[in-house]
Symmetry: C2
Subunit: 539 residues, 2 copies
Amino acid sequence: MTFSMAERRRKFWGWGWEDEGPDAEQQGAIADILKQRFAMKGIDVRKPPTEDELNLPESRIKPPDSLAALCSTKTYDRAGHTYGKSYRDIVRAFRRSYDHPPDLVAFPRTEDQIIDLLDWCSRDNIVAIPYGGGSSVVGGTEASPNEYRPVVSIDLGGLDQVLEIDKTSRAARIQAGIFGPALEDQLRPHGYTLRHFPQSFEFSTLGGWIATRSGGHYATLYTHIEDFLESMRIVTPTGTVESRRLPGSGAGPSPDRMFVGSEGILGIVTEAWMRLQERPRFRASTAITFDTFLAGAEAVRTISQAGLFPSNCRLLDAGEAQTAGAGDGSSAVLLVAFESADHSLDAWMKRAVECCRDHGGNVPDDAIKTVEKAEGARGGAAGAWRNTFVGAPYLRDAMVAMGLVVETFETAITWDRFPEFHAAVMRATEYAVKEICGSGSVTCRFTHAYPDGPAPYYSVIAPSRADSQLEHWAEIKQAAGEAIIANGGTITHHHAVGRDHRPWYDRQRPDVFARALTATKRELDPSNILNPGVLIGEL
Amino acid sequence: MTFSMAERRRKFWGWGWEDEGPDAEQQGAIADILKQRFAMKGIDVRKPPTEDELNLPESRIKPPDSLAALCSTKTYDRAGHTYGKSYRDIVRAFRRSYDHPPDLVAFPRTEDQIIDLLDWCSRDNIVAIPYGGGSSVVGGTEASPNEYRPVVSIDLGGLDQVLEIDKTSRAARIQAGIFGPALEDQLRPHGYTLRHFPQSFEFSTLGGWIATRSGGHYATLYTHIEDFLESMRIVTPTGTVESRRLPGSGAGPSPDRMFVGSEGILGIVTEAWMRLQERPRFRASTAITFDTFLAGAEAVRTISQAGLFPSNCRLLDAGEAQTAGAGDGSSAVLLVAFESADHSLDAWMKRAVECCRDHGGNVPDDAIKTVEKAEGARGGAAGAWRNTFVGAPYLRDAMVAMGLVVETFETAITWDRFPEFHAAVMRATEYAVKEICGSGSVTCRFTHAYPDGPAPYYSVIAPSRADSQLEHWAEIKQAAGEAIIANGGTITHHHAVGRDHRPWYDRQRPDVFARALTATKRELDPSNILNPGVLIGEL
């Protein structure tokens, strides 16, 4: 039992597999591009930490005999469960700063073992941090530096099976610790897919998606994981919850919705019935350019309000399009795609393309064309985009090693306020980047589009220094977060709150709701052992 | 200020306007049909109660001077707020049984007045029952007969304005006490509609829909009121909640979802930003017959899983189709409709019709035809259905007067379990009807259809006697409720829980969730004044 999966080991300090990411030669090429782009004098590529460089504090606890076999105090495991995978986490790893690792990491394989672990933690006043794939970018899986109690990280990776498939209702009962690829591998032979593809897909879990209200691949209609959730089981320190499998219900407030997004402070998701999709057979896809981002946004608004429900409707601003190899940097690019397991999509794409033309979109001649059996490789702008998307976290880590600030933030806002909101967020962030780092780029894309507003996603790259990376980003994030909250957005559309978003989340969520959530936590977790300080409570 | 609206008065004892419902001649015709259908010897048509027949207990409270002008102790108001509009409520009205009316009825017109009313109730330990349109069919707006405290019914009807329309985001800020028709009247000049049309539409309110997770017109996709909810304001006894206007968010558990379906036990909804639809311009509609209900159900399943999202997909069994004048009683009828403000619907209907043919559906020749500007009258089976739907509550009251059992219940279940579930529910209910009433009919239709299951809706009509109507229905409901819960359904898909569904709801909802909800109620309503006994707490 270990944090590594199969034969390959995951990096304890950063994103993904030990044997993946840009090699030395590629790193050199990246450094050259960055030097030129930001007029940097030289770039040092620091080495990532190794296990023997770390000097973790001694573990303060010993598990009861009955749980000892599930628990590890290995440096690799403890270091690997110290942080999530945010920019800040990677920088701290490069700084070899591992002052608050969990005292031990537990790897349960059954729900009963999870219950036993929580019983032990409640009894002995030990903090329990649920850990799925560890891909949190908001400090959602690390202990507070002020935590005086011992800490156990509970790694759910052993609960990795699709248990049951109901083909008639198109749903499956799935263990919460399963990673994205394993989940899809186990559904594929039956012709199904969950079709929830967050950027973290390869190294995140179903339970983590549910706990953080993850946002996935679909740009419209089915955006968040809860749209696919039929029922779930959750172990709390004071009892286990199982909701009924129901396609819809009006019986009181939804029990599931109380736990979706609760980020491990109320209980640990152990399994869920998830709604599946048949694997898409038809696909229509095109890339449309617009002179300005705002013109593209108007086209997205029209499509979103037309009831067409494209699977993709991703608007990239000129800079974002260029970075992704999906444009030349002179215009915004809208990637529109429809997918279906059931029907040809010409009528859908025809109308979407009309909406784009109405707003000045430059539509390719072959835009309206449904392709069958198009699951494989994708060319053109969409393909370029996809490759960039999946490889981004590896690239990010490489740029951290080069001393850059490289991070993203995301939000959602109604259409009426979008132009001013976007201008304010760009202005505040660009100003901060320039003031703090001297130069740098801020770009934007839409990840999701709703009838009443878009979910804009911002990427920041700026030169910094190894000794200032954390502080530089903290200042930029402060400016961006302030602009988002002051202008009516949400501090996160699908990256969760964790510890890092607390200052803004606390201003965003209604106080009465925070009191209700606190009362619920007190009732379900009276010893306050579960992920304390996340969402509510002490910072 | 009064319970009546404009010039017309509502019946204090039953559904709708005083001057509407079947007249004496029509009642005679109905009685003849029923006599023949159920081989009844004779039918007495009882007279509904009049105000002067009622002898309400004295009001036990006097409002503070500052609130006196908002409060009424008139018999008409107190009697009108004693019950909802279930079969059981109408029977009790015909029995002149008004032992537990509210001590007074308050008619606030502002949020501040609601705050003042709740302050007074908290201070003086008075029960406060939020009252929208009073269309509850589950005892959601009546006090417990065991309640020893005085009771105020807070009628929100004075908060009846659309306050603001955001055309860009297609959303409106709307006061919670507005009735369906007034809401649509105020949106229509701007080209919009909420398109939420529950059967109670004419006499129910936005706030009531939100508090009860109302189900509306759309058969797929946008089924419950929360699908249209962007943000809301709620007054609780310990503070006011306002959520942010956001098209989507992943910041913690949704505050809105905690209050949606809370049935007045946590607070009073005062206003909400609701997502609007443009008024539909295109419509395609057809009626398809199937030899059996189950064959029709398979067609509905296929359509629901195809990603077509029809606005209507209402399957009526043979009996239901005949009653509605939509069929001859020999086959099941599926009403399929697509509506759009944006595009012609031929491609959508073409595929839906193919799904029906694949399952033996008898498709009319002119099925695939999009009609423009089709908002007006509808002919054929769909039109017949619609008229029956809207007039049903008036007809129901007339049949109550004739001593019949006439009530409905509804649920939802996943597709894999549907055939056995439906057989079990029909068997249990038909058996109970026959045992208890000697004869009677049980019919079924689908009101909503999800990719993972349908929402079946059952109607019961059976001969009974004035002195046994309540008891007969209670026994039938007991049999039906037991079959629903034992076979995995929900005790309600869109009629809420109230007091009447508590015995089954308490078995359905997870205990841990009930503890969480109780903790939340204790925090927000420490004096337990708001609708006590609904959803949780003493029966």
